[in-house]
């Protein structure tokens, strides 16, 4: 199945990104395709290169980056939501890209299922 993933909450405060990550990883292991992961609302904070959690904690941002690199997943951060929250190309982690909301709609159109992780 071709899946689209939407993440609407930031890292650490909320579990949404963790659950989305584990779901996406499990889906790939089961042989499903990930059309795109789209970050919206506070979800855009999952792409900040400046994120530095304590050493003994999971690194939510880098974990997405690695998953995307290993499986060639398109990680898209909404431009309007990102600018509003101070996320720009200069502090965007490698492996993410900033684009428009149209990418979310296209994900809805192209995927068999769009799965939302949020509050």
């Amino acid at each position: 199945m071709k899946l689209g993933i939407l993440i609407n909450e930031g890292p650490y405060t909320h579990q949404a990104s963790d659950t989305a990550y584990l779901f996406t990883k499990a889906a790939i292991e089961k042989g499903h395709k990930i059309h795109r992961v789209f970050f919206y609302n506070d979800g855009v904070y999952n792409s900040s290169r400046l994120t530095e959690p304590p050493q003994d904690d999971r690194h939510v941002v880098n974990r997405w980056q690695k998953l995307a690199k290993d499986h060639r997943i398109d990680l898209v951060v909404c431009v309007a939501a990102a600018l509003r929250r101070g996320i720009k190309d200069e502090n965007l982690q490698e492996g993410f890209r900033i684009s428009g909301l149209g990418q979310l709609i296209e994900t809805g159109i192209q995927s068999d299922r769009l799965v939302t992780f949020g509050d």
Binding site: V79, G100, G102, Q103, I105
Partner: protein, 135 residues
């Protein structure tokens, strides 16, 4: 990159495919950004020629209540934008009856024409959709 379609060229393979999109609005218009950012998605979606409906449940019913005054909290009153949706051919707006009544609201309190439906009908509406975006 095209402004109106949020970075997607319409000639891409999404052209021609029409799906039913339902936007589920569950939160009050102010206090959190969900209502405003949901509306921003709806406006972009209008450029994609999909079958779009909006549903208002829980505190989400307050999003379309008449007479919103936001000056004292220094937040933009974006409620007039809901009136503009008609111009984008987005005319299917549903309000959940139970949510509306629990908050002492009536159909006349809304600033746009809506269809009031019960929770069971709402459930059937959701079931009939291809894509549900809940904010």
């Amino acid at each position: 990159m095209t402004e109106a379609t949020g970075g997607i060229e319409m000639e891409e393979d999404s052209a021609g495919k029409v799906k039913k999109f339902l936007y589920v609005n569950r939160k009050a218009p102010y206090g959190t950004i969900y209502a405003l950012e949901s509306l921003e998605v709806v406006l972009i979606a209008a450029a994609f020629d999909q079958e779009v409906s909006l549903a208002f449940l829980d505190d989400g019913v307050y999003q379309i209540v008449k007479g919103q005054h936001t000056k004292p909290i220094d937040v933009k009153n974006f409620s007039p934008t809901y009136r503009a949706l008609e111009g984008y051919d987005i005319e299917k707006l549903y309000v959940e009856k139970e949510s509306m009544e629990a908050r002492g609201l009536k159909q006349e309190d809304f600033l746009v024409p809506v269809k009031v439906i019960g929770a069971q009908e709402m459930s059937a509406l959701m079931d009939s959709q291809d894509v549900i975006l809940s904010f």
